[in-house]
């Protein structure tokens, strides 16, 4: 006898422990299996792009911190580079090196948090999260040394960075670089071969190579699907062409690969920072720009490899002191376009970890 069943409409979010903010999924579930899903965005919409039009170029800088609030340094860097490209501003060598160090430290923070919350979604009782948070706090201390802030740094400026490194920064950074590889090894020993982690994440939420490219996914999500695409390599910006590093890729594009790619990028970021610290030149860190400067009319698109993928700023100037229009290519938002394909047919518990493995930040999705 066939049992008559009825699909259940389940509302995940906007207030839910594992939506990483205020994301909402309207899910249609048949028992535990997800049959249809509709993502709903916009609960954190603050109109940042529109706000840009009424602020001067410099005044918009703090707002970029608030896009993806766990990678403020990268957002700063992407925006500042776009405006510099528009106005043709030179950046001192020392500032370039400092920017790279900051951006890579920020990448380590973002990846640690992504891995930690991925395991939280998988059901560990916060233990990996706390292990990673301790290292994250050490980097936050380093950031506090250079700019006095612990979350929204607002550190970069058009033509450089706001302050030079304090004398105690490099010793502290070296200490961190020395102890971090052992920490990464510890995470690997505890998590990478755990049977339950394998059972939960291997072959789960597969994003095929074609689907990833078609959805124009970027960052670790794309690389886990086996596409060797990293803006730092394919379109080197700043001084990334001077460093020697690998681009880790996955093979299957499942949740486990996305987690692996992030772990391996931690090591690569450490490599880059080490090289940057060794090559750090002396000199000034800021080429001053007039307070109310007016870039020439025109438009420019500049992108960097953000923590979650290609982070781009499209800036249009009409020659006044305010941007005519700024558009942000937010990697979290575009990576989410593949979500529906990845979720359908999986169970509710899988849906949570697939969503977690994409690693989005709602500040950036809704802007």
């Amino acid at each position: 006898m066939a049992v008559k069943t009825e699909p259940l409409f389940l509302n995940l979010g906007p207030v839910h422990p594992s939506t990483h903010g205020v994301f909402r999924m309207r899910a249609l579930v048949d028992g535990e299996v997800i049959t249809d899903i509709e993502p709903v965005f916009g609960y954190l919409h603050r109109g940042i792009e529109k706000l840009a039009e009424s602020k001067s170029y410099r005044q918009f800088l703090p707002l970029t911190d608030r896009l993806d609030y766990v990678s403020s340094m990268n957002n700063n860097m992407a925006y500042v580079m776009a405006v510099e490209k528009l106005a043709g501003i030179e950046v001192p060598q020392r500032a370039e090196y400092i920017r790279v160090i900051m951006a890579e430290l920020q990448r380590i923070i973002a990846h640690l948090l992504a891995i930690g919350s991925f395991f939280n979604d998988m059901g560990t009782f916060f233990t990996p999260f706390f292990y990673m948070f301790i290292q994250k706090e050490k980097i936050t201390d380093l950031f506090e040394m250079v700019c006095g802030q612990r979350l929204l740094y607002n550190y970069m400026r058009f033509g450089g960075v706001s302050h030079d490194l304090p004398p105690e920064f490099i010793p502290a950074l070296t200490r961190f670089l020395d102890e971090m590889p052992a920490e990464i090894k510890k995470y690997e020993r505890l998590l990478a071969e755990n049977e339950i982690v394998l059972a939960r994440s291997k072959n789960v939420g597969v994003l095929t190579r074609e689907m990833a490219v078609n959805a124009s996914a970027a960052g670790p999500v794309l690389r886990a699907s086996g596409v060797d695409w990293d803006i730092r390599k394919v379109d080197p910006y700043s001084i990334y062409d001077r460093f020697d590093f690998d681009v880790p890729t996955g093979a299957n594009g499942d949740c486990y690969d996305r987690y692996r790619v992030r772990v391996e990028e931690l090591t690569q970021s450490l490599n880059i920072i080490r090289q940057a610290v060794n090559g750090l030149p002396k000199g000034k860190v800021l080429n001053p720009v007039p307070l109310r400067f007016r870039p020439p009319a025109g438009e420019v698109y500049s992108h960097i490899e953000g923590n979650k993928g290609e982070l781009g700023f499209h800036v249009i100037s009409d020659g006044s002191d305010k941007p005519y229009r700024i558009h942000v290519r937010a990697p979290s938002f575009i990576n989410l376009t593949a979500l529906k394909n990845m979720l359908i047919g999986w169970k509710l518990a899988d849906a949570i970890i697939i969503f977690g493995s994409i690693d989005i930040c709602l500040g950036e999705v809704d802007r």
């Binding site: 389940l10 706390f130 755990n194 059972a199």
Partner: protein, 367 residues
């Protein structure tokens, strides 16, 4: 009172009103002991988990934070008691009571010293098994009556999981029953001149794993999977009704630790110290292991949980039962090391064979 507790039942029954005195003392004793130890164990768990996660845990209220649970109880008692407007009120009210009562009853047949127990039933273990399944009914009632989709999903998982894991749990107990030749828990403890964990390592493994599932602890905590179902079946409960569920969970953990200690670790038996202290020490030890597992492992998915019960634990339990009964029939004079070794090698071979068929991950389900 303690002297009275430890008197053999035969002497006590000769006192005036001996039978009622006995019931009164033990009834009060069990409830007081259980409720106070819940407070201690909650504190212990939070402190231990804190240590596992490289932090301090609660240490502000009272010495070493011992009064933290007391403060929590006061807070929870003064909370508003909310009943959802569309809840099934009668069932909603009854659920916490039905979940809590059997847990207390289970302790009635556990001896704290030789012959010192509320009721020395000659079918003690059968009573435990029968009464313990009532708790899952209470949990299901709570999930069903709340009129909430999350709690409904959790309730459905409850039924599936608890019913599945009861079977290996009972079958592993039967191994102990065969070795003892009695269903009375007192007789079982007396038979353990060598703790049964050494004679029945496989039985202990099955019992402990299945009891983790019965008390909804990691890695089987699907009922309250906080990253998926927010809080599970008790999502709509607040105030004292929520506290009752919380109490139930911890009491269950304590009761199953007690049963593990009684069935496999030699119960009150042990040199030098008084029997009751030995029992408490063993309960504490088992509870600490449960906490350790909670702080370490991620959660399984519902189909993996069911697979594990039906395809791994149940065959293993049947095999264990078969081997134990064969050895009792054909080699009753077997030395302890031989039967322990046979049991252990069976466990090893079974795990080895099972791992050949184990596939991590999963696949999508077409609906």
């Amino acid at each position: 009172m303690v002297e009275l507790l430890l008197l053999p039942a035969s002497i006590r029954s000769e006192l005036p009103f001996g039978y009622w005195l006995h019931l009164l003392i033990f009834g009060l004793g069990i409830i007081t002991l259980l409720l106070t130890s819940v407070i201690i164990f909650i504190w212990l768990e939070r402190r231990l988990v804190g240590r596992f996660q490289l932090r301090h845990g609660p240490n502000r209220a009272g010495p070493f934070g011992l009064l933290q649970s007391v403060a929590d109880v006061i807070k929870i008692l003064t909370k508003e008691d909310i009943i959802p407007s569309r809840a099934d009120k009668l069932v909603f009210w009854m659920a916490p009571v039905i979940a809590f009562t059997p847990v207390v009853l289970m302790l009635g047949v556990v001896p704290v010293a030789d012959g010192a127990l509320l009721a020395d039933l000659n079918i003690g273990i059968l009573f435990v098994v029968a009464i313990s399944s009532v708790t899952s009914l209470g949990v299901f009632m709570a999930g069903w009556s709340s009129y909430n989709k999350y709690s409904l999903l959790s309730a459905m998982r409850t039924v599936a999981q608890l019913v599945s894991y009861e079977m290996p749990l009972i079958l592993s107990m039967v191994g102990v029953v065969i070795l003892t030749g009695s269903l009375s828990l007192n007789e079982m403890v007396k038979a353990q001149s060598i703790p049964f964990i050494l004679l029945q390592p496989a039985g202990f493994f099955i019992f402990f794993t299945a009891s983790l599932a019965e008390i909804n602890r990691t890695p089987f905590d699907l009922l309250e999977a906080d990253s998926e179902l927010v809080a599970g079946y008790n999502i709509e409960y607040s105030g004292m009704k929520f506290a009752t569920f919380y109490l139930t969970e911890y009491c269950e953990a304590i009761v199953l630790s007690t049963l593990t200690a009684t069935l496999f670790l030699g119960g009150w038996q042990g040199p030098w110290l008084p029997p009751m202290i030995w029992l408490l020490l063993k309960i504490g030890l088992v509870f600490c292991v449960i906490v350790w597992i909670r702080a370490t492992l991620p959660r399984l998915r519902i189909d993996q949980v069911m697979n594990f019960a039906w395809k791994f634990l149940l065959p293993l339990a049947i095999l264990n039962l078969l081997l134990t009964s064969l050895s009792v029939i054909f080699w009753p004079t077997a030395p302890a090391w031989a039967s322990g070794l046979i049991n252990l090698s069976m466990l090893a071979v079974f795990i080895l064979v099972y791992s050949k068929f184990f596939k991590p991950g999963g696949k999508t389900v077409a609906v």
